[in-house]
């Protein structure tokens, strides 16, 4: 028997291994033979989409549909790394200011016309046009000029190096047919002409949105599904029931109250469940222009006093992980929480810090919380109890969502509990929230060290250098009483029919993975 693995056999074996390795690195065209074509996937959605125009999308219900209708120049993979999408490759100049994208040839829009670089340029121009009033335009302010030397090349020149530029493109830029947009005068709420694996077939408001397969999708062999239907089922309990009866085959759950029921379905073999970490973290934020939170020692004291695990267990029902600012979902950028001293509850240290700050007998303050974010509301109630031993009286103020946002905008609060998103790049997560004068810096926080580090990390092109800088930032913010106390990042449950195969979860674009999945 051993004789087989002599010379010729060994060569054959090596050859077989080589072929296997090659197959593994081939683009998505080559699929495991098991993929089946056809079928309709019905997804359960909490609410109806508001628009099909990613340029103006700010809600949570429109993204899932847009994920399947459009492409960008680049996109994220499951590890939150940038990979090709419409651009098959790209180059960045040495100074980090010129990005050249080489587009795939023969990509067609849903109306059959061919995509060229001028469509990409037009899409970007529309995003940045003040008349469109896109909330995402501010991410593209560093773009100084755009040129299209030929139909498959587009060059973007930036005014200064901007490290998260590719992440920003992947997150906010989508490509639509310029002619189509012009013909519809920019009103793309209910119509679309993208390049994505699926096309809009019908939209019955508050009932269902139906997409059909794009037969000319630029990735041959994809998509496998014939139809995708987004069924609006507002009540979580009804969505679970619909999964059980097979009425829907895919649904996402973010409220941990329902996780046990979803997992029951899994035990019964009726669904497969992906238990994944969202790129979000929960926080207690302070208004650093109000006493006593203008003193970083006070903020640090509270950070030592709060029991994050108790908050996770009670408010998050244990469905999450304790986290710093950059959550474990951001993979390589995360700092392990073992490096955060205040994450170990230490009431003695908290008392000492308070005394040092001049509040030996505690103080009282308000926590703004909204029922719109139920787990953050509960977190506020728990924090209220946790601070009592220090003589601190916290008052939880339940605030209606619109009023909450308004007060956040005008900075009228002592503190608040809420959620923040990490986006897909540390700069997007941190700059606007922590830089002096940043637009989401509701804390009115201003620290020259932090500003300097943020500016540096944004313009550095070396990933290794950026990592070092963001590590320093995270440690500095936690160990020196930053404007936020981070508690935990929560899980989502994605429940899907056992017949659905080939789905990959990509954070923040969780429905893109359906392009490669199939039903069997």
């Amino acid at each position: 028997m051993i004789g087989i693995f002599r010379s010729s056999g060994r060569i054959a074996l090596i050859g077989a291994l080589a072929v296997a390795a090659l197959l593994g690195t081939l683009p998505a065209q080559a699929h495991p033979v098991a993929a089946a074509n056809g079928g309709t996937l019905t997804i359960g959605m909490t609410s109806d989409a508001l628009t099909l125009d990613p340029t103006v999308t700010t809600d949570e219900a429109s993204g899932p549909i847009e994920d399947l209708l459009f492409n960008s120049l680049v996109k994220f993979n499951a590890k939150v790394q940038i990979v090709p999408d419409l651009a098959s490759r790209w180059t960045i100049s040495g100074d980090g200011k010129t990005y050249t994208f080489y587009l795939r040839p023969n990509v067609t829009f849903h109306d059959g016309s061919t995509m060229t670089s001028s469509d990409v340029a037009a899409s970007l121009a529309r995003l940045r046009d003040p008349k469109t009033a896109s909330p995402w335009a501010s991410f593209f302010t560093t773009v100084a000029s755009v040129s299209t030397p030929n139909a498959t090349t587009i060059v973007m020149k930036l005014s200064q190096p901007y490290a998260p530029f590719l992440a920003v493109i992947a997150s906010f830029l989508t490509v639509s047919s310029a002619k189509f947009v012009a013909a519809h005068k920019g009103k793309l709420t209910r119509v679309e002409d993208g390049t994505g694996p699926f096309m809009l077939k019908s939209w019955v408001p508050n009932t269902a949105i139906t997409l059909v397969r794009n037969p000319h999708y630029f990735l041959a062999g994809l998509p496998h599904l014939d139809k995708v239907v987004y069924q609006i089922i507002p009540a979580d309990a009804s969505r679970i029931a619909a999964l059980r009866t097979g009425q829907i085959q895919f649904a996402a759950f973010l409220d941990p109250i329902y996780f046990p029921q979803v997992q029951q379905l899994q035990k019964a073999g009726q669904v497969n469940v992906l238990h994944v970490l969202d790129i979000n973290y929960h926080l207690l934020g302070f208004n650093t222009k109000r006493k006593p939170f203008n003193n970083p020692l006070v903020r640090l004291a509270l950070s030592y006093a709060i029991d994050r695990n108790e908050i996770l267990q009670a408010a998050g029902r244990g469905q999450g992980v304790i986290s710093g600012l950059l959550t474990p979902a951001l993979q390589s950028w995360t700092v392990p929480i073992s490096e955060y001293a205040p994450y170990k509850v230490n009431l003695a240290k908290a008392r000492a810090l308070l005394k040092q700050a001049g509040y030996p007998n505690g103080f009282s303050f308000d926590i703004m919380a909204s029922h719109y974010l139920p787990s953050d509301f509960t977190a506020a109630e728990i924090i209220q109890q946790q601070l009592k031993p220090l003589g601190i009286t916290a008052r939880v103020v339940p605030t209606e969502w619109g009023v909450y946002v308004h007060k956040w905008v005008v900075r009228d609060f002592d503190s608040f509990t809420g959620e923040n998103g990490d986006w897909t790049d540390p700069d997007l997560a941190m700059y606007a929230a922590l830089h002096t004068g940043g637009s989401t810096n509701a804390f009115q926080y201003s620290d020259p060290t932090v500003d300097r580090l943020l500016d540096q990390a944004r313009t550095t092109t070396s990933t290794a250098q950026r990592k070092a800088l963001y590590d320093r930032l995270q440690l500095y913010l936690v160990n020196n009483g930053g404007p936020m106390i981070y508690t935990y990042a929560s899980y989502w449950d994605y429940a899907m029919s056992p017949q659905l195969h080939g789905y990959t979860y990509i954070p923040r674009s969780s429905y893109q993975g359906l392009a490669e999945s199939w039903l069997q």
Binding site: L50, T58, A133, R190, P205, S238, V403, Y404, H406, T440
Partner: protein, 316 residues
Amino acid sequence: MRTYIISRLLLAVPTLFGVSVVAFLTIHLIPGNIVEVMLGTRTDVTPQQVAELNRLYGIDTPLWRQYLLWAGNILHADLGFSLRTGLPVVTLLGSALGVTAELTVLAVLIALLVAVPAGVWTAVRRNGPGDVAARLLGLLGLSIPAFWLGTLLILAVSIYLPWLSSFSFVPFLQSPARNLETMILPACTLGLGLASIILRLTRSAMLEVLHKDYLRTARAKGLRGSRVLAKHALRNALLPVITIVGLQIGYLLGGAVIIENVFTLPGVGRLVVQAIEQRDYPLVQSVVFVVAALVIVVNLLVDLCYAWVDPRIRYS
């Protein structure tokens, strides 16, 4: 009679004007506007972008101008467009009103079916144990909070009739059977409070009528008891019952808000609550105005009925 109608119609005009002002002001006086809610706490926008968005959504002009624009459109029967979805208010209101109307009609039917016979029965057996029990039950029905009852029913159904709880709302035209399955529980919950009111009303109306002389005359003439009951007593008792049902439209619409929330039905109550949450100004203003106007119109019709029946009211 004609002067009465005209005077009542004229009186409705300032009321409707007042309603429009209140509908407009209440939503605008709440802190937070549509742009702020839309952007939430996570978008990175410059003040210029916010200004652009304010302009786009028409909230950068003074309030009185916004009011005149909206009120002017209302006078042309143009209810405007939802700022959030871009859909015409009339479409959204139409489908929501259909759901709420179906819910209220079913609730009224259930309430009438249960309460009218019960009211008659208790009137006939006045002060008997059944009467007292029925009155107690009736008052209990008024006392049980709708959202509690609804929640308990959902709980009971999920335990004992699990197949019933898996249905989410389906429009009537799409599938009447499925639609009724989803509507039966909420209709019963909403109908319960109404049943209590109708029970009391039927009972007192029947009591009044039962003592009337003409009934004794009819009996003396030899007509059978139950026929007398059905023909004369019931018919006269029903008029106030029906008018009260009309007057209860305010209560029903209010109760529907809670029920729609508990059972997640896409009716007017949920529409308005969500629109308020999102500060969708045109939607809130137009829907609230239409609902209030409906209440006024129904009340007017009821008053006209009363005036037609009881001439004394006309000349007061």
